[in-house]
């Protein structure tokens, strides 16, 4: 394999080479994830030791805490959980997996990367403007987000935030149009829809969702900017009073923003997790050496999740003043979406049952993904009940739910993908021993950090509060739980240093690898430049090997099918 060194600069800065773009996306996401993690650690420190002064910044004021929450969420949701599965990984393998020599629109694809970069720069600039970063949360509910008087950071900081989001929407849509056109028109001969790897199916669905959801967010962001600067009031209600001062009298409704935002926001979580689900199916097939037993069911489940995902947004708004009948309807669709999700999970469990497991690091992280997906997913149907959500809404129970099912499951699938595809990035393997240590510490620390939040939430601990103690002592007995969460969070962050060390060291010192180190069947490992496909993506099993090597237990897609 001739792969240029990991940190090698692309030959041209504005490269259209997908491998170079995949690396650039990964580095972009790395910046975002490091920053986002540091912000979350600051939050944990402040919740546990409220009077502790941060070295450079000084004491954390309540508004600083809200800015930390906002920026942590924005960085993680957009620049990590969307950018890596939806941009970095497809650039790395998508065109190869369908046997295309290149993307459908290389320049559009490259432009999307640079717009994403511009978006990140604009977002981070919000830290350095007067009054600092926005404090309205990543959901930016009006009227807080519509009026500069709402607090520090709600002036220029929020404008920059909205601009960053609008730029990100453009980049996401541009990138997805390229992916859609690539999947639909660039498949190699024989690569029909029943032979697509499940990752490609996931990208087909998540790209369609991206085009729909991010356009809606773009429209909403435009309207909010008009509210802030053109004197309109789409979202600004009448009679807003802030800090005792009556504000501009609007005629709009914040509910409208909630609807538009969550029409984006919920499909967004499927955009982030669907590629991970496709990857889990592929990796399970590989590391259990079994075919995916229900390929068509998995495809239908993926399509159903995408379709139903567009109709569940109201479950974020049960207690926001929505019509209760609408709440019931959204509760119903939300329960419905757990059916295809369960179909996928049960298929994975079937594959594990009596599979010939190879517990390599990518497999461990896939198992971790499934574990978190189940643990976090089980609280989904609970929160989907409007009556239960009335109590649990805006408590740490919800924080636990989405950090397990979206953040941890998402991140573990990203790790699985990175460990698995690392040879494509560098031509070398990552260190297995370090990878396993990284996995076990991360698994335990992640459960330690997020699982107790369920109990804190059930005890009534609210989200977005900078401090639990102070004049009132309702939550004083939760402090030990908080402390445990904080220690786990630090352990979790520390474990990632092992990963970073492994990631960069293996680029130069890792074991050189054979062309197909995982004995995989999908085309990204193909040694042939222009393959033609005659069999499905997951032909594993005893004596499944090609005619020339019948003792092998896998039939790669680039090998011709065996005669009967």
């Amino acid at each position: 394999m001739t792969t240029p060194p990991l940190t090698a600069k692309p030959r041209r800065l504005f490269t259209t080479n997908p491998l170079a773009l995949a690396r650039l996306y990964l580095f972009l996401a790395l910046i975002a994830v490091v920053l986002g993690t540091l912000l979350s650690l600051l939050m944990r420190l402040h919740r546990t030791w409220p009077n502790l002064a941060v070295p450079i910044h000084g004491a954390i004021r309540p508004e600083d805490y809200l800015a930390l929450v906002t920026m942590h969420a924005t960085l993680m949701v957009f620049f990590v959980l969307t950018v890596v599965p939806q941009s970095a990984f497809p650039n790395l393998v998508l065109h190869a997996q369908i046997g295309a020599s290149r993307m459908a629109f290389p320049r559009l694809n490259a432009a999307a990367f640079w717009i994403t970069t511009a978006s990140l720069v604009v977002l981070l600039a919000a830290f350095f403007v007067p009054e600092g970063a926005p404090i309205a949360g990543w959901t930016a509910y009006p009227p807080l987000s519509a009026l500069a008087a709402a607090g520090p950071g709600q002036g220029l900081g929020t404008d920059l935030w909205l601009l960053a989001i609008a730029l990100f929407c453009l980049a996401a849509v541009a990138s997805s149009l390229n992916l859609l056109a690539t999947i639909l028109t660039r498949r190699c001969p024989g690569m029909n829809f029943t032979r697509l790897p499940l990752t490609v199916w996931s990208w087909l669905v998540s790209s369609s969702l991206t085009v729909i959801a991010f356009t809606a967010l773009f429209a909403a962001a435009s309207m909010l900017l008009a509210d802030r600067h053109c004197g309109t009031s789409f979202f600004l209600p009448p009679g807003t009073v802030m800090n005792g001062i009556p504000q501009r009298d609007g005629t709009g409704s914040p509910m409208l923003w909630l609807h538009l935002f969550w029409f984006f926001g919920h499909p967004e979580v499927y955009i982030a997790i669907l590629p991970g689900m496709g990857l889990a199916s592929s990796l399970l097939a590989n590391f259990t050496r079994r075919p995916v037993p229900a390929y068509r069911l998995m495809v239908i489940a993926t399509l159903l999740i995408g379709f139903l995902g567009l109709g569940v947004w109201g479950h974020h708004m049960f207690v926001s003043g929505m019509n209760p009948y609408a709440g019931t309807a959204f509760g119903f669709t939300t329960i419905a979406i757990s059916v295809p999700s369960s179909a996928e999970i049960l298929t994975w469990l079937v594959m594990l049952f009596r599979g010939r497991l190879r517990l390599a690091t990518p497999m461990l992280f896939t198992l971790g993904f499934i574990s978190f997906f189940i643990a976090g997913g089980l609280t989904g149907p609970i929160l989907a009940q409007p009556a239960l959500d009335a109590y649990l809404h805006n408590t740490f129970f919800v924080v636990a739910h989405f950090h397990l099912v979206m953040a941890m499951a998402g991140v573990f699938s990203l790790f699985a993908g990175i460990y698995y595809w690392y040879p494509l990035l560098t031509g070398r393997l990552m260190n297995e021993a370090l990878g396993k240590i990284h996995f076990w510490i991360s698994l335990i620390a992640a459960y330690g950090a997020f699982f107790p939040m369920h109990f804190a939430g059930l005890a009534g601990e609210p989200r977005h509060y900078a401090q639990l103690t102070g004049p009132v002592e309702y939550f004083a007995n939760l402090i030990p739980v908080e402390r445990g969460i904080t220690w786990s969070a630090f352990l979790l962050a520390a474990a990632q240093l092992i990963f970073l060390f492994n990631f960069f060291r293996s680029a130069t010192h890792g074991a050189s690898t054979r062309p197909n180190p995982w004995q995989a069947t999908t085309l990204e490992w193909s040694p042939i430049a222009h393959p033609a496909v005659t069999n499905g993506p997951y032909v594993y099993g005893p004596k499944a090997g090609p005619q020339a090597r019948p003792q092998e237990d896998f039939l790669p897609q680039w090998e011709p099918e065996k005669p009967f």
Partner: protein
Amino acid sequence: MPATFTRHTVETERKDPGFGGKPPLDRRPTGGGGGDENWDSSNSRRHGPRELLIRYRMAVLSGLAGDLVFFAVLVSAFFVRQSAIHIDATDNVISDWHPLAAPPILWINTAILLLSTLTMETARRQLFHEIDIMEEWLGLGRPAVRRAAPWLIATIVLGGLFLTGQWIAWQQLAQQGFFFSSNPNSHFFYLVTGTHGVHLLIGIAALVFALIAMFRFKRVELRQIAVDCTAWYWHAMGLFWIFLFILLVYFQ
């Protein structure tokens, strides 16, 4: 002409009986989950002279689907806002939605935009006129470009007229005292016409690009793509406008 008449050999190879013969093609297992049907048995359209055109069309149409969501968001917000009521201090249900009389010039604008759709389609069809295209491909002059150019220019002029008409409509509203920030209804009127206008500006830029491309691009195929994609975009904007126009005039 690249990759035009090459047939991929996979399908024919598989008919080779090898030893002992093979089962008929349609009964061969597909692997994976053992699906038994070929969802895409006729993929020949993806390989041939129109391959690139179809790829670009696919991207433009997907993008337009996204754009449809953009306008759907505005329209649904319009209806939500329209039906919004609130209850005042004396328990009266109040709607603060005041119908806005759309300026009559919108009718003329709409007619102009529809006309521009026709000129655009005429221009597009010139580029797919088989005999002319064959001549261009053989390098015997550029009859298709020559015929399409006037229609493209006409489309640009009509598009410009439409935008001018929209501007006049804004002026008329402003004279009546309705600005972007005046009331909920005017918010939407200006937002809908404004965003649609921005889309048309992009469309006019694309038209100018297509006009230049027709004369500059060396490959016939690329000239076709430039005009074809612009045409689909333009048609979509015309279609969107009809819906938006009906919304603004009849659903007040």
